[in-house]
Symmetry: C2
Subunit: 204 residues, 2 copies
């Protein structure tokens, strides 16, 4: 690729992804296809991560059986109700042993990376994984919207319970649950205020 | 807003933001305007965060004086050279005292949130702030690209050194440095491989 002059994003796309994008609190009774979910991952997987480590992992829960296993671990009340109503719930995880993938993701430096990250205690390696997974999660939200779908991220769930139910014996550790679907009636709460620019941005 | 049928993102925008988007390793000698940087923040600030906490903070370094203060804290070699050549270097920080902003960002629940997060020890509150800041950072990369600019995120820098130089006496803590500019000649390395979908995505 020798592209040097890049396009800019048009106003429709800016509205879709950023300025009009909202967290959905209800979902229409309209299915989300596995093709759409594959498509969401096909965009998300290009997110930049530390040393191309790509530690984000996704479990798409969309069957009745899957929902029955998931829902007891979601906080009772509005969070559980929303997850129940959403056509799909994505459990986002990070791979605590992401360094095992460097032979795939960074072949030229794999030996060095596998050794150095492998030598770290898990409690030092996990925050690194979670941070890069969070970078990719920010792009996951926009990949959902790119498919004309709405996302509803929720932190109110029992991470240990979900990990034991779905990820036992694996290095996957859940960090966020995201409801996905077509927005329902009154899906959006009023937009909450933003931090004042003067408090968020500085110049040097 | 009563929008219930959402658009999908067209192929040009998908290429710009996701499938053809790359980390830039060199920059053209073409300035980036403060208006463009304001525009990047105007998109980034809508990223979803835990309880609308919006803990991401940005320092845009684009003057010679700013660069002179910044560069000694960037890892010597290719990282420092890239930061020196980039028209703008964004230092991304998280606000360790993000809860002080809840009176602005979540007025209805401000008292409860300020009290509960304020009662946490800093070492419990900071990872929460850093995680939500990382979610917004993933969207920051795409906001840069939405402006026809390329981003080059780097983790190789001295966080304590940058924090002492720029953020002394404030609760801002640096977590990533991002070079920003128009891509230069040979700006892109060959695309590195992705984790196999079967290793990254599960279904239930």
């Amino acid at each position: 690729m020798t592209l040097t002059a890049l396009e800019t994003l048009d106003d429709t796309a800016r509205a879709l992804l950023f300025t009009e994008a909202r967290t959905a609190n209800s979902f229409a009774d309209r299915p989300v296809t596995d093709d759409e979910l594959h498509g969401i991952w096909e965009l998300t997987r290009f997110a930049p991560t530390m040393a191309n480590s790509q530690p984000l992992r996704v479990l798409f829960v969309r069957t009745d059986e899957g929902k029955a296993r998931l829902l007891p671990h979601i906080a009772e009340g509005s969070n559980r109700n929303k997850a129940q109503a959403a056509p799909v719930v994505a459990v986002l995880a990070y791979d605590a042993d992401f360094h095992e993938q460097f032979r795939v993701t960074f072949p030229d430096r794999a030996e060095m990376f596998v050794k150095s990250f492998g030598a770290m205690p898990a409690e030092a390696r996990e925050p690194i994984s979670k941070y890069s997974a969070a970078l990719a999660t920010g792009q996951f939200f926009l990949a959902v919207r790119a498919h004309g779908l709405a996302a509803g991220p929720m932190a109110g769930f029992d991470t240990a319970g979900i990990d034991a139910e779905f990820f036992a014996g694996t290095p996957w550790k859940s960090h966020l649950v995201v409801n996905i679907g077509h927005p329902g009636t009154d899906a959006w709460f009023p937009r909450l205020p933003r931090v004042d620019v003067a408090d968020a941005v500085r110049w040097a």
